[in-house]
């Protein structure tokens, strides 16, 4: 599997080339274009686990994760992937380890990587935003996307990241949800609200922009939804 990133960093697309017999797994809806011989099968978060009902249940809970598996039929093939919002992409080579990824940032991985939905770390605090977290485990190449640029922060001690700016982080890091400026009142008056404090040693990948802030900026100009 070969990944080439095009139009970095603003509106990045990934061109994935697969040899015969190779396959890759991508987030549903990410395909832009592909060669005519590409086969798609759709599953819930793991390739062999069936259970359509389970999948529908998850979809109701706002945690739908359908994955498409691409495999060229005869000979090699290529598939182009893109994210929902403008921004950059990065690849990460998992080596017998675990990476926690914000669900909207996951784009694709090699079939050897296990995509686990079970990670509950932030869930109870951040409901309301349709954010959940994936645990990518094992070995193989992983493709992530961000809203805006991606910058890594090497944490050694403590570091604060606004919750809307987290792309992924090493599982070795400890984290807690907290406030900025010493009191909750200050944190909310300063517009920061709840932020995430990482502790220990490891890397956090941040996205330069916050999708929720952008959505809110255009909110009042959007056509109203009738209920």
């Amino acid at each position: 599997m070969q990944i080439e990133l095009i139009h970095r960093p603003g509106n990045t697309a990934a061109k994935i080339q697969l040899d015969q017999g190779e396959s890759c797994t991508a987030e549903s809806g990410a395909m832009i274009a592909m060669s005519g011989n590409m086969d798609i099968t759709t599953t819930t978060h793991k390739k062999q686990s069936g259970g359509l009902l389970k999948a529908v249940k998850r979809m109701m809970a706002g945690e739908s994760l359908f994955l498409n598996h691409f495999e060229p039929k005869a000979g090699a093939g290529e598939v182009w992937l893109g994210a929902t919002l403008a921004g950059d992409m990065m690849t990460y080579d998992l080596d017998q380890e675990s990476l926690i990824v914000q669900s909207g940032s996951f784009l694709a991985c090699e079939s050897s990587v296990e995509v686990d939905l079970g990670w509950q770390g932030f869930k109870s605090f951040l409901s309301g935003e349709s954010v959940f977290w994936l645990n990518l485990r094992g070995s193989g190449n992983v493709l992530l996307n961000s809203f805006g640029a991606i910058y890594p922060v090497e944490v050694n001690g403590e570091y604060i990241v606004d919750t809307g700016h987290i792309v992924a982080f090493n599982e070795s890091l400890d984290f807690s949800l907290t406030k900025v400026g010493g009191s909750w009142l200050k944190s909310f008056l300063g517009g920061e609200g709840i932020v995430c404090k990482f502790k220990g040693r490891g890397t956090v990948w941040c996205q330069s922009h916050n999708p929720t802030s952008f959505g809110s900026a255009m909110s009042s100009d959007l056509k109203a939804r009738k209920v």
């Binding site: 604060i160 010493g182 200050k186 330069s208 952008f214 100009d221 959007l222």
Partner: protein, 220 residues
């Protein structure tokens, strides 16, 4: 203070290294990540009365945040605007610049955010009754949605109001119809701003109203 604008024109963000004792004033909710040891204090934007007017008539937020480094080491602070786009730095040296609502990102100490009467025309153009005039000595960072483009005006230039970001305070702004009455309303341009004088105008290459104008017909 070491300051780097990163992310290019598409996704500008501001990376600051605050030295011990230094501080910076930012737009509310501009912090995206920071060293945990930095202190943050919300401040009322300007004087209380003008802050009130700015909030309700100028489109800016009531509070700004002041980040200070009270430790003995250099600490990192990353700032960003809600919309993706370009960020610029202006070195004010007793000078001043007018900013459209929402364009302010951050400033060093010594820079003041002032409010000036913008006139009824500005209010009709949905830009508020007051304009933000930034003056003093120090660094100012501002930005917008899309890329920032500079135009030297000597005479007159017509600018779609939603694309105007910053301009020299000496320039005069007038609101007018884009074309005839029919064209102005059915042609989608509506009111435009006529900039008069000699000086620099900064425009943004995209606008939120343009974006929603593209999206809205597709929504049901």
């Amino acid at each position: 203070m070491k300051a780097d604008i990163k992310g290019g024109a598409a996704f500008g963000y501001l990376d600051l290294a605050l030295e011990p004792g230094e501080s910076v004033t930012t737009e509310s909710d501009a912090m995206s990540s920071m060293a945990a040891e930095l202190d943050m204090e919300p401040k009322v934007n300007g004087s209380l009365v003008s802050a009130f007017f700015r909030k309700f008539l100028g489109g800016e937020t009531f509070f700004v945040s002041r980040f200070s480094n009270n430790t003995q080491e250099t600490k990192r602070l990353t700032l960003v605007q809600p919309t993706p786009g370009e960020i610029r730095c202006v070195d004010l040296n007793q000078g001043s610049i007018c900013l459209q609502p929402g364009a302010f990102l951050a400033a060093t100490d010594g820079v003041t955010l002032g409010l000036k009467w913008a006139g009824l025309a500005s209010f009709i153009g949905r830009e508020g009754l007051f304009k933000l005039e930034v003056s003093g000595t120090g660094k100012l960072w501002y930005g917008a949605y899309g890329a920032l483009l500079e135009r030297e005006v000597d005479g007159e230039l017509i600018v779609d109001t939603s694309h105007l970001v910053a301009y020299d305070p000496s320039m005069k702004l007038k609101v007018q119809l884009a074309g005839g009455i029919f064209s102005s309303f059915f042609g989608g341009e509506g009111l435009v701003t006529r900039v008069e004088g000699k000086g620099k105008v900064v425009i943004q290459s995209r606008s939120i109203s343009g974006l929603t104008g593209w999206v809205n017909p597709k929504l049901y």
